[in-house]
């Protein structure tokens, strides 16, 4: 029975359990999907299945969810089968994004599992005619003090778990798995050649396809000589719809060759409309301005005024494996295996694209390469759907080529920011103003117009009007409001609807740029106040958990005893992601070669507070990864283009961090807070890393660089000026 049938047959019961009025919200995603058996089912033979609407992206979600469920159900992790994002099976939890999975799904499953266990205990109490206090849950059985025991499977009859969740749960406080560095369940297959990714899916009779993407945005296919390609051995079909062009072949290498041959025989009309100077262009475009903090803040007082402006270029997600999907169209129904971050929103978008009812589309998440936000995963799923419809009954696998991924994925937006503050006579901040200019940070699907293929069709779909993501999470203005207690704080978000280049969510969204800007600026203020950067931060912070990570990182780094050597420097930065997720503080030491502008990160020390740490090693892995990825963004990365095309089309034209620039050491210290809410971690390190790096660079050289990336080329120019 799939989920739809299940709900359809159980519908009457849902009504009978609905409470007249809900005073209290349900925990996490239970609020949206309150039935316990949407999350947890127990079969008659005792097998337990847990369902999450979130997806494994390599962040360790599966392991953490299993730890939570197993602890609350008092079973071993191996006793649980976990089903992740699938439109036929799991709750709709939207996107796996924004470091929200533990908060949304982890919290829902924590509570659903606790409540399921309590229901099983109550049921056993009835059967055994014992008070529930005499019973305990152990390894899939309810055990009585007198030695009698009943397996979970024998207790769950009928619709026992088909009930609405309660707002409060009796959480089992014994932590067998939570808080432990449990090894990730997905790693063994990944290091032994197991089928681990959608890229590895091989269905019977599956064929391969490639897309001939237009050379640039808005290019129209003027003419195509496809006959020689159609006659190539192994080519099954060339599919064209307007300027959307793909080729299906029996073998993958044939599909690649056929795609290249088609590309060589295609002529395009290309508009020349990409801007020469992106920052001047963005600054000149109309913006929707919102004061997101301090609308009634007083004007800045007299004192020392410090001002600075910062820029961030377009940057790519750059998964090492280009996007891939497999689709099969049969009898008017479509199945898509996809590494999209949101199987339900993708289903809606593909339904509109194909003119199909969503119920006829089944999207199944399988892991992809990386992710780091809204990349081409949804686009390639749409490509696969269009090609599969042209070849009914046959599964079609499509993978993008490297140049497709670099040039067509939605980039992290270029941004500008300006900060202004006044220091009083004591060297404290008496007023703070900050402004940020940005395009949207989410053009995720939900609608067909968000899929790259849809723009090229004979009857194209237009992208939806871009919208800002509101506070408190924010998009371009994420973390634009500092956590510091600056009097008269005034923050403005200039949201620019018109997008010169395709953009969407890149890990951390605006937080990366805003934290880079604000943390650079705070160091500039500290320098003006002749204060130590760590002390300066602490004296403007009340939040004890913020202070704790800062003090911890500073202590482990040896901040107080640091002796500056020629060419070396230290830097510090802090942020609480979204001002409501994990706290992270980072201290860093760098060495700079003045002649070449070559920058080396020697060591990094981070302290992080993610609330109750379900898997401390998972948190360390995410923070380490965030640090290394941010070092790459911050020192190497900027998308290049001319007036027609993206010219960063591979790792040669868009270099990223290699092992030669990996720090000597990276230490991550996790402050565990048992009983506290889970706080998302996946995006907590990017902004502080950039800030700490810029500050270390300034300390090493005496020169403040406010434009990203802090590349050797830029540093050489700046340092020799």
């Amino acid at each position: 029975m799939n989920r739809r049938e299940f709900i359809a047959t159980g519908g009457a019961l849902i009504v009978s359990f609905a409470l007249p009025a809900r005073a209290q919200k349900l925990p996490g995603s239970l609020e949206k999907d309150p039935l316990l058996d949407s999350w947890i089912r127990v079969a008659a033979d005792g097998r337990i299945t847990v369902f999450t609407g979130k997806a494994e992206l390599g962040q360790g979600l599966k392991t953490a969810i299993l730890q939570i469920a197993a602890d609350q159900l008092a079973v071993d992790m191996k006793a649980i089968e976990l089903v992740t994002a699938d439109t036929a099976l799991t709750p709709n939890e939207g996107y796996t994004a924004g470091s929200n999975s533990m908060k949304d799904s982890g919290t829902a499953i924590l509570n659903a599992a606790a409540q399921a266990r309590e229901i099983l205990l109550a049921q056993a109490a009835k059967r055994l005619d014992l008070p529930v206090e005499k019973l305990s849950a152990q390894d899939g059985q309810i055990v009585a003090a007198d030695g009698r025991r009943i397996g979970y499977g024998a207790l769950v009859q009928g619709q026992l778990l088909h009930v609405r969740a309660a707002p409060e749960s009796r959480l089992r406080r014994e932590r067998n798995l939570i808080g432990k560095p449990v090894p990730r369940v997905d790693i063994p297959a990944k290091v032994t050649g197991g089928a681990a990714y959608v890229h590895d899916l091989r269905l019977p009779d599956m064929v391969h396809a490639r897309i001939v993407r237009p050379p640039g945005y808005g290019a129209k296919l003027r003419s195509l000589d496809d006959k020689p390609v159609a006659n190539m051995a192994g080519v099954i079909k060339i599919v064209r719809d307007g300027s959307f062009l793909g080729v299906i072949a029996a073998r993958e290498w044939t599909a690649v060759q056929a795609m290249r041959a088609l590309r060589a025989r295609a002529a395009w009309d290309e508009p020349r409309k990409l801007p020469r100077d992106i920052y001047a262009t963005l600054a000149a475009l109309p913006s929707q301005d919102t004061v997101i903090a301090g609308a009634d803040a007083p004007a800045l007082q007299n004192g020392r005024v410090i001002e600075a402006g910062y820029t961030r270029p377009y940057q790519i997600h750059g998964a090492i494996g280009p996007a891939c999907a497999v689709a099969r169209y049969e009898n008017g129904a479509l199945t898509i295996w996809t590494h999209s971050q949101g199987v339900y929103p993708l289903r809606g978008a593909v339904a509109e694209l194909m003119g199909m009812p969503p119920e006829r589309i089944h999207c199944i998440h399988m892991e992809g390469s990386g992710c780091y936000g809204h990349n081409a995963a949804d686009d390639v799923a749409a490509d696969a759907a269009l090609l599969a419809r042209a070849l009914p009954g046959t599964p079609v696998r499509v993978q993008w080529m490297r140049e497709d991924e670099h040039a067509w994925e939605p980039f992290g937006p270029a941004m500008l920011s300006k900060a202004r503050a006044v220091l009083d006579a004591a060297g404290n901040v008496s007023g703070f103003q900050y402004e940020v200019w940005s395009n949207t940070h989410s053009s995720r699907p939900g609608k067909a117009g968000e899929l790259a293929a849809a723009w090229s069709l004979e009857k194209p779909f237009q992208p939806s009007p871009p919208r800002p993501i509101p506070q408190p999470e924010g998009g371009g203005d994420r973390n634009a409001i500092p956590l510091y207690k600056f009097p008269a704080t005034h923050v403005t978000h200039h949201f620019i609807p018109e997008m010169p280049l395709r953009v969407s969510a890149l890990r951390g969204l605006g937080a990366y740029m805003n934290i880079f800007s604000i943390e650079s600026f705070v160091d500039e203020l500290a320098a003006a106040a002749k204060a130590d950067p760590v002390d300066f931060r602490l004296r403007h912070l009340d939040d004890p958990r913020a202070r704790a990570v800062i003090e911890f990182a500073a202590e482990r780094f040896g901040w107080r005893t640091y002796a500056k050597r020629n060419g070396n420097g230290r830097g510090f930065a802090f942020a609480r992601y979204k001002n409501l997720a994990a706290y992270a503080a980072i201290a860093m030491e760098v060495a700079v070669e003045r002649d070449t502008g070559e920058l080396r990160v020697l060591r990094v020390v981070a302290a992080v507070d993610s609330g109750e740490a379900v898997n401390p090693d998972g948190i360390r892995n995410q923070i380490e990864g965030g640090i290394l990825q941010s070092l790459s963004w911050t020192t190497f990365e900027a998308v290049m283009h001319d007036d027609r095309r993206i010219t960063s089309r591979d790792w040669g034209t868009y270099p990223i961090l290699r092992f030669s620039h990996v720090p000597q050491t990276v230490e991550v210290h996790v402050i565990d807070r048992p009983g506290e809410h889970f706080l998302g971690t996946g995006e907590a390190a990017q902004g502080p890393t950039a800030g700490a790096l810029a500050n270390a660079l300034a300390h090493a050289t005496g020169v403040r660089v406010r434009d990203l990336p802090l590349s050797a080329r830029r540093l050489k120019q700046v340092l020799s000026a």
Binding site: G58, Q59, V191, G193, A319, P322, D617, G652, F659
Partner: protein, 154 residues
Amino acid sequence: MKLDVNGLVVDVTAEPTTPLLYVLRDELGLNAAKFGCGLGQCGACTVLADGEAIFSCLTPISVLEGRRIRTVEGLGTAQKPGPMQRAFIDMQAAQCGYCIPGMMVRAQALLERKPDASEADIRGALQPNLCRCGTHMRIVRAAVRAGELMRGKS
């Protein structure tokens, strides 16, 4: 033509100009070597040929006849992981994991050539391979650990 892959000699039907990667993945059903760039810039496709790390996305099978090809599948199994695999599991050296098999075989090539390779040697050897999740520190630790396991240190 015939290819020697992980100790088995197999008949393959692909054209001799086909890059090895497509034969490994599509004809032999091996998952570990991955398509990353098709340009020799990222190393996701790295496999061993007579102990030497090669980009399988660029190397046509025509030049590989008679050479001993090894992939991560040849280093052990999930049930009986070899030292390199054991080390990557012990160090939890993966996030998305897509680049990891390429890292593993490149480290394997180094350690077979130079069993006492230092951490600096390992970092140097891994220069052709890209990781986007930022797992570099763990990858280095795992390769160091693999060297220890291979030298018989437990």
